[in-house]
Amino acid sequence: MMRAALGALLAGGLATSCLSVNWTRSTLHRPVQDGVLEDYVVDESTMADALDGLGAPLYVWELSRGASALAWGWYGSRDLGVQVSVPTRSPVDPSFQYSQIDRRLRGYVFVFDADDRLRYMRKGYLADIADELRRRPVFEVAGAEERLREREDADAADPGDAR
């Protein structure tokens, strides 16, 4: 009897050090409303419209040619799991850094030109969108495509000038 009790005590002690059942929830910032993209129109909406509707952005950064990108986002997770390990740190990190975009955050990125006119918007993970904007400033590509179309239209209208 005494041996069984000691065994149970030992097993219990070992279990608490390496086995854990965690139910955690973590949220960072208030969620951004769904369907935000429908409220704004590229080439028409302004930065003031976006700030009025969405409030202060989480991030603002500079793009080329005086353009700027503004990002709104949030993070939420709910996990239930069994963990076999020795816990060495908190499972949830509530901290928030401005030095680089938090890769957990989802939301919206709006790009405004030098006149604060909305040129581009997208929903998704903020860090991914920021990376893509750095690699490929889409609003400039869109402008280039527009100029290309205008040139093609001009060439079609006057084939004699076509190069």
Partner: protein, 161 residues
């Protein structure tokens, strides 16, 4: 017999409560001082200068250069955490919210735009199964924190058109 068991049962409940009490915990983290909406409402685009903004709100947490223009950020973060641990079971909830103000200036340091959000005061101590007190319009989509994109994450070309 019942009269004899009642005090024992009460004592057992008291002992159980005292034993469980140390396993509950709450904590709060704050960053920067709270922002005052009334002060922010005094900012007038087209009229207020950068110097006046600095006098009203103090030094910003961040300054971003946007070509010849600039944007300043002010923020206050409040994170509330509540948890409960019983032997091998841990319940943990963290709610972090923020007051933010971004002010945008032109090349002459005149205020162009202001964006403000005041949510830090809404952070709550809760358990994971409890509903957050978001406004109905802000009810979050359910997602598990994984980094798989949603089906409605529009590709760049589509979103730009």
């Amino acid at each position: 017999m019942k009269n004899l068991n009642a005090p024992r049962l009460g004592a057992a409940c008291l002992v159980a409560c005292l034993a469980l009490l140390p396993s509950c915990f709450v904590s709060r983290e704050t960053t920067n001082v709270p922002l005052d909406p009334e002060v922010v409402s005094q900012l007038r685009p087209g009229e207020t200068t950068a110097r006046e903004v600095a006098e009203l709100l103090g030094a910003p947490s961040e300054v971003v250069q946007l070509g010849f223009r600039s944007a300043w950020r002010y923020d206050h973060v409040r994170a509330k955490r509540a948890g409960f641990t019983l032997i091998v079971v841990t319940l943990l909830d963290t709610d972090a919210r923020q007051d933010r103000v971004w002010v945008f200036f032109d090349e002459d340091d005149l205020l162009l735009n202001v964006g403000s959000t005041f949510d830090a005061g809404d952070a709550e101590y809760q358990m994971p199964w409890m509903d957050r007190n978001y406004p109905e319009d802000d009810a979050p989509e359910t997602y598990d924190g994984s980094r798989e994109p949603d089906a409605d994450d529009a590709p760049m070309e589509d979103a730009a058109s």
